[in-house]
């Protein structure tokens, strides 16, 4: 009887911890959404609807495609974790990190072009470098988190039913994608 009560208590504690973890993560993502919204609003306040003529729009489209593909691979990594497929999990985590790296290379090219065409001293340039820089920093931290999860996976962590670590990192990665969904039109398409 006492053992049964203890087991029920332990189950309840685990269930509560999972709910608290999930709610905490969503609250954190909501606070991040406020940050990105403020900087996006600043772009319109500082530079209106204008954008430079020599802005590399095809490059913006290419890195958008790369980031969307990274969201798919992150989702497949989470699916593999749920199914207990360790190899699939490691493969898709690696793929997501590679996509993230490709995105950052694209941002680097974009910045080198942008520094010549619309430096941060111009209205559009200040909005562009702040917004893209803030987002690129999030991509970088997401890649660091994915690398940690990949390392832990190789060491045998995360079995079926113990996927919270992966779920949290993957959700953060998707959030970075959601932020870009608004940044891309804000910087590259609006006029």
């Amino acid at each position: 009887m006492a053992v049964g009560m203890l087991t029920t208590d332990a189950h309840e504690r685990v269930a509560f911890r999972d709910r608290a973890n999930r709610l905490g993560l969503w609250l954190f993502l909501a606070s991040e959404a406020f940050l990105f919204s403020a900087v996006i609003a600043a772009r319109f306040s500082v530079a209106g609807l204008s954008r430079p003529r020599d802005l590399n729009q095809p490059l913006g489209l290419a890195i958008t495609a790369v980031l969307l593909a990274s969201s798919l691979s992150a989702y497949l990594a989470e699916s593999a974790a749920v199914a207990g497929d360790r190899r699939g999990l490691a493969h898709h985590l690696r793929l997501t990190i590679v996509f993230g790296l490709a995105f950052l290379v694209g941002v680097g090219v974009e910045w080198s072009e942008g520094l010549r065409s619309f430096p941060p001293t111009t209205a559009y340039g200040s909005a562009f470098f702040t917004l893209v820089g803030l987002h690129a920093f999030h991509v970088l931290t997401g890649m660091a988190a994915l690398s940690i999860v990949l390392g832990l996976t190789r060491r045998g962590r995360f079995g079926p039913g113990d996927t919270w670590g992966i779920e949290a990192v993957v959700k953060y990665w998707h959030f970075v994608d959601v932020a870009w969904v608004f940044i891309f039109p804000t910087l590259y398409l609006v006029r």
Partner: protein, 71 residues
């Protein structure tokens, strides 16, 4: 058990691929609107909102939050 997991994994992969296809099509719609329309903002804002919802719903399982609150 293993067969159920494989089936569930296949189903999830299909959901992911479908969401990715929708996102790709919507990105092309954004691009066309931005390059062809004079006032693209009217198209860009709703399309961005739909894209964000697709990611939140299909990839981030935002609807789980309601179940978590109930459970």
């Amino acid at each position: 058990m293993q067969a159920m997991r494989t089936e569930s994994s296949r189903l999830r992969a299909r959901v992911g691929l479908r969401a990715f296809a929708v996102l790709a099509v919507l990105t092309v719609v954004e691009w066309i609107a931005a390059t062809r329309l004079t006032w693209a903002l009217a198209v860009l804002v709703p399309v961005a909102l739909v894209k964000a919802w697709v990611i939140l719903d299909a990839f981030m399982h935002v609807r789980q939050l309601r179940h978590a609150r109930e459970g």
